[in-house]
Symmetry: C2
Subunit: 413 residues, 2 copies
């Protein structure tokens, strides 16, 4: 089954908005065994839409579009659909009533322009949008399935998760495709392969892919069978092999994140965490607090960007800073111990480094970073040499720190 995603909006073609919608949809589809073959982005132009929709209908079986379903003059998707599928736009009273009700709940009178949201292609199936006024549409014709969703990311995600994925799973033969991603951290691809390859038997129609990311290497299994059971059985066999070979590096599956894993480990062990950040400036704290429920295990932290704050807020001795500097093993250790004590947490992470682009010297180049983990009376510090790019240095420092904490909690060497 050939699947195509079309993301619509001038803001994508001008680079004003990064197209993250297609990545979300592609990822979610793959989790249920559906692989995307084409992703195209076009502007708010009926002619471009017509041409691109027709091309998609020629070459693909399932087409999913995002964008252009709003109530204004720039929203042209329905008009293009009507031209391509030769259907009328019909007014749907029940859709309008639903939109009015939602505005009423917020004590707002519905702006008149939203009447347009109730004008929908004849014969289309609708998917209710819980977070906005544009319903999702589906036209099934001649063996093709053409789905149009709103472009607002929250709304698109809710529709994909709650409506489209189940709909497509029913539609296609994906029950006999099983997909699983195992997420590893703390080991490079080549070493991971060395662990996995001995006695590795890839059965028929089972594929294994290595996918590097900032937080580590993901292993993705795609298994196809004549039946659902056969696909799943083959997947579980390979999964067992991977877990025996590399289990201690696996922190989660599919969309699990390392920060969620850390939260779970802290919660399971009834421990709390505090952070002391210099070069990362709060990025680690924001990563950890992006996990819902993090208030159960995350106390907070100190962003000690200026050296005087390392002294005043973290009790890092002035003489230590004079002797070793802020970017040093000694400073990382002192920062970790300092915040652990101040916040009375079981664990503490400290990060100090040179993110760049400036600030490097011959002895201490850009990318040099120290991460300290404090637990009970001990502190462990590790030195990293990242690269020259500020953004990736800061991100890699955070994930390096989470990886160190994970090893510490699980006592992995």
């Amino acid at each position: 089954m050939i699947i195509e995603i079309i993301t619509i909006g001038d803001e994508i073609l001008t680079g004003h908005t990064v197209d993250s919608n297609s990545a979300y949809i592609a990822k979610k589809l793959l989790e249920v065994g559906l692989e995307v073959s084409f992703i195209t982005s076009i502007g708010d132009s009926i002619e471009q839409m017509e041409e691109t929709f027709r091309q998609a209908l020629n070459r693909s079986q399932i087409i999913i579009t995002t964008g252009g379903l709003g109530p204004t003059d720039d929203d042209l998707t329905k008009k293009a659909i009507v031209r391509v599928f030769k259907r009328n736009l019909i007014f749907h009273e029940e859709v309008l009533e639903d939109i009015k009700e939602r505005y009423a709940k917020r004590d707002i009178k519905m702006p008149a322009i939203n009447h347009n949201q109730a004008l929908l292609p004849q014969g289309a199936k609708f998917f209710p949008n819980k977070l906005g006024s544009a319903v999702g549409l589906c036209i099934a014709e001649n063996g093709k399935t053409f789905i149009s969703l709103p472009g607002v990311p929250q709304e698109m995600k809710q529709l994909i998760d709650d409506e489209i994925l189940p709909y497509l799973q029913n539609l296609s033969d994906t029950k006999n495709i099983s997909v699983l991603k195992l997420r590893t951290v703390g080991i490079v691809e080549s070493k991971l392969a060395e662990l996995i390859k001995p006695d590795l038997k890839l059965e028929n129609n089972v594929r294994l892919a290595y996918l590097p990311s900032y937080s580590g290497v993901d292993l993705r299994i795609i298994s196809k069978g004549d039946t659902e059971d056969e696909a799943l059985t083959k997947l579980r066999t390979l999964q067992s092999h991977l877990e025996s070979a590399a289990g201690k590096y696996i922190y989660g599956y599919n969309s699990d994140t390392l920060e969620e894993n850390i939260g779970q480990l802290l919660k399971d062990n009834d421990k709390t965490l505090a952070v002391a950040e210099s070069c990362t400036g709060g990025l680690l704290g924001s990563l950890l607090t992006s996990v819902p429920g993090s208030s159960h295990w995350f106390k907070g932290g100190i962003i000690s960007y200026a050296n005087e704050i390392k002294e005043s807020a973290l009790a890092v001795p002035h003489t230590l800073l004079e002797q070793y500097g802020a970017v040093s093993e000694e400073c990382a250790a002192a920062m970790a111990k300092g915040v652990k004590e101040k916040f009375d947490s079981e664990y503490a992470i400290a990060i100090t480094g040179i993110a760049g682009p400036d600030g490097g010297t011959d002895e201490k180049p850009v990318g040099l970073t120290y991460v300290g983990i404090a637990y009970r009376n001990d502190v462990v510090v590790r030195m990293f040499n990242f690269g020259k790019d500020r953004i990736s240095n800061r991100t890699r420092a955070c994930y390096g720190a989470l990886e160190m904490l994970r090893r510490d909690i699980l006592d992995i060497t």
Copy 2:
């Protein structure tokens, strides 16, 4: 001139990686007056590449691809180029020598596989890659310009900024197109339009677009003329009008960010800033420290995620928390004053709110956020009601806070 971007990589089609390369390229091209018409993402498949390259050469004049230029078997772009353009891959000694030298500088022996990087299409122009081993390629034939760049974002950006933009500016008639984006904050689109529309005269071939984003509404001018001067003159005329009408809301141009603007204002006024974050968990600090040179004006902050930390680290009185709760005007004010005093900064920002998805009540729903700004002996607090989405609540809280600080520094009501 029709321009098309093709991003190559299985990791895009599986949603493992968000395609941010195309947004970067599209944005940079537009800054020099070049508008992108098509963006397509395809997988690591020679057949798909051939088909997509041929289609692009049919319909566009300038094609820019990213990805597939590495040394491994999965890197197929050059092979597809050779098929489409019917040219041989020739070994280029000087390219190999350059790669060897770079590895030598890092005291590493070049892995043999990198020999492939010196195999390049005959007759192509090369653009040196300062950050990696894959040179950028350009084939000019039959009025078409086909450019292939590495997919690694840092490397692609360096090549675009230093080599491709100047090359394309020379190539095309873009000198007679002037583009400028004025970035506003603190005013909604409809009100901004109300300020701008009176006496607005759009000259021939001058377009004005309103582009909403998290941090506010951008105004983009695209002006075309018979000459460079004419285009620029018309642009400046419209710019003057916009600046008279809405000047106090304009914080920057093109890629300037609000956080950079805050940094500049603090630096110009010789002031420092500290932050106290609850629901944003460090996100505000990380935004501010993403600005190079922020150490000149940013002292750091306290991530007071747990209420006990608000008390212990920020001196928020226990009785205040009991009486008003952590998400309150009173708490925001106390947090701002607390961190200002502890960090001895001139300005302080405090954010406390309910990011969601849990934690809301009837009186205090998800999205309720208080931002406090402390300066000298005063504290100003503002209440926001964002939405239900955790990620966007946290981001909007940060930009709402930066906007409040900006008004405070500039004394704008």
